[in-house]
């Protein structure tokens, strides 16, 4: 199994406002604290490569304390020059949020295509009822710009150019691998499977991951091929400590923040008008899935939203992902409560857990997938 270190770059602040997104005033942001955090977070990502992680993940979110990377390509560009081996996975660029989606990056890059979550449409002003169509169109335009010699005209419904001719062209041929981080809408599963784009389940209970993986594998078969295990990826926080008790104590204090504070927002922000198709909305309404703020620690732990425990416990739980779900790549962020404790936790994981899952050490997880 491959391990990618995933960072949200949160601004970890406790507060009582009803929403951590869109309307949460940026007067709560202290630029000096932010400066320190950005440097610590980048240090953590660089350290992850030294410890043996296979990839480093950054991502895009806007106007919130949950993740302070409005421009993930900037973070990726910094990491590319400070690392030498790890894949740099941008998970991803919010394609429909851009007026001009033509941006290029090169080298060890994995390019995630995402729509952006609900609140992003309130922050950017992009019409959420166009989200899905804009996403498909932007993805089509980017792939064409990567693979066809320019200039060529592009006359879409949302994006129109007389001269598509980006300089430079991507180093990776035919183009950087594309990943599709998502929460399991039927339409996205089908779309990603058809294009062989790896599917990344983000912050999802394990039962639903199993169901969506099944649907993705079926969709791949329908499209005439068998999914590689590296097309099935998962993003889940891991909390590891010397003992189960210690790990649980840390998780209760720090891992819950992401769900209870970081993802706290009003219902309209979760569900902007037209963002979700009617079949997907029905699926959500009838599935009984809880909002992040409704999840208890036991829900997270029992539901398999997070992995938590001593190295031995974490190994056992990870085996479920590697052996039963047959996920090929685990993306996880860690939070020990402070920068130093986080580095220690990363080291413990790299020494006591990671080596037990290295039967595929020589395999290139990007070969033949994502394009």
């Amino acid at each position: 199994m491959k391990f990618y270190y995933f960072h949200l770059m949160p601004y970890p602040l406790e507060h009582d406002e009803p929403s951590s997104w869109v309307t949460f005033s940026n007067r709560h942001y202290d630029p000096q604290v932010g400066h320190t955090l950005y440097n610590q977070y980048l240090d953590q990502l660089e350290y992850a490569e030294q410890l043996g992680w296979d990839g480093l993940c950054v991502n895009e979110h806007h106007q919130n304390c949950y993740g302070t990377m409005p421009s993930p390509n900037v973070m990726a560009a910094m990491l590319v020059r400070r690392t030498s081996r790890a894949r740099i996975a941008i998970l991803g660029n919010g394609l429909p949020l851009r007026e001009n989606p033509l941006r290029i990056s090169g080298g060890r890059v994995i390019s995630g295509f995402v729509r952006g979550i609900g609140p992003e449409y309130y922050s950017t002003g992009v019409n959420p009822s166009h989200s899905r169509e804009r996403f498909y169109e932007a993805a089509d335009l980017i792939i064409r710009a990567w693979t066809e010699a320019g200039p060529f005209p592009y006359d879409g419904r949302f994006y129109r150019y007389h001269f598509v001719n980006p300089w430079p062209r991507p180093l990776q041929q035919p183009h950087p691998p594309v990943w599709c981080p998502s929460q399991g809408s039927a339409e996205t599963v089908e779309w990603a499977a058809r294009r062989r784009f790896p599917y990344l389940m983000v912050f999802t209970p394990i039962k639903r991951i199993a169901q969506i993986y099944g649907e993705y594998r079926e969709a791949c078969e329908r499209n005439g091929y068998t999914a590689s295990r590296y097309q099935l990826t998962v993003n889940l926080p891991i909390i590891v400590a010397e003992s189960d008790a210690r790990a649980y104590a840390i998780a209760r204090r720090h891992a819950l923040w992401v769900y209870h504070v970081g993802l706290r927002m009003s219902l309209p922000f979760w569900q902007p008008p037209g963002y979700t198709t009617e079949p997907s909305l029905k699926r959500v309404l009838t599935s009984g899935i809880k909002l992040p703020t409704e999840l208890t620690f036991e829900d997270l732990e029992d539901g398999g939203y997070i992995i938590c425990g001593s190295p031995a416990t974490v190994r056992d739980k990870l085996k479920i992902f590697s052996d039963e779900l047959r996920a090929g790549i685990v993306c996880s962020g860690m939070n020990g409560g402070s920068h130093e404790k986080t580095l220690e936790m990363m080291q413990l994981f790299a020494e006591e857990v990671m080596p037990h899952f290295r039967e595929d050490a020589g395999v290139d997880e990007t070969a033949g997938v994502g394009r």
């Binding site: 002003g125 019409n127 009003s266 309209p268 902007p272 008008p273 037209g274 979700t276 009617e278």
Partner: protein, 260 residues
Amino acid sequence: MTERALTVRGVSVRLLSGGDGPALLFLHAAGGAGRWLPFHEQLARRFTLLFPSHPGHGGSAAADWIDHISDLAFHYLDLLDELRLERVHLVGASFGGWIAAEIAVMASHRLKSLVLIDPVGIKVDGWIYPFLFAMELPQLVATVFHDPMNALALAPADLGVDTLVELSRERAALARVAWNPYLYNPLLKRRLCRITAPTLLCWGEHDRVAPLQCARAWTAEIAGARLEAFAGSGHVPHIEEPARAAAVVSEFCAGHEEGR
């Protein structure tokens, strides 16, 4: 009141109608689809009231091609053709008022009279419409109604999955044409001078969506437009003061039976 389905250039429309007399087309506000209320009942005593649901709202199918407010205006001109109505009284509330104004700048000659109840649709200097799409229900009710109890008139019958999906469809259909620019067409204000039909503006004095100052922007652009204020209403006087609103509208329309 009777209900029927009709097809307008391929779009399936749910149409409520009642009463007899001259035809009066009512264009509902967001959230008002299919709600035959005392206001409509009273208008139906003097007019044949035609009350369609906008595409994507209240039992009318969503239409993919509707992407701009003018698409809805053309849709209603098509509906008049389908019903073989040459000229009508046109009454629109809030979002429906916006559509009515778009129709009026295109085809004033089809209107015997025009009544706009707290319309949105133009950019008013010094005012930004509050972003209703971001509001949870209590805040939404407090913003739209003068007396929050009046919101019960629009409460859904249940909160089952089908109802929630229908409400979501209405929000999506509204966002399609009104998300950004929010609740206005930048081109409309300049075009209001084309309206030649006799025009009445009804306005709730406590409107917090489009306050009374917005009314003056409309009366300044539409020649001869009359303004009637409602002291006990927020954004929806036809729901908050139905008897008086219906009386004022009836009298105005009846007084212009032959048009200008």
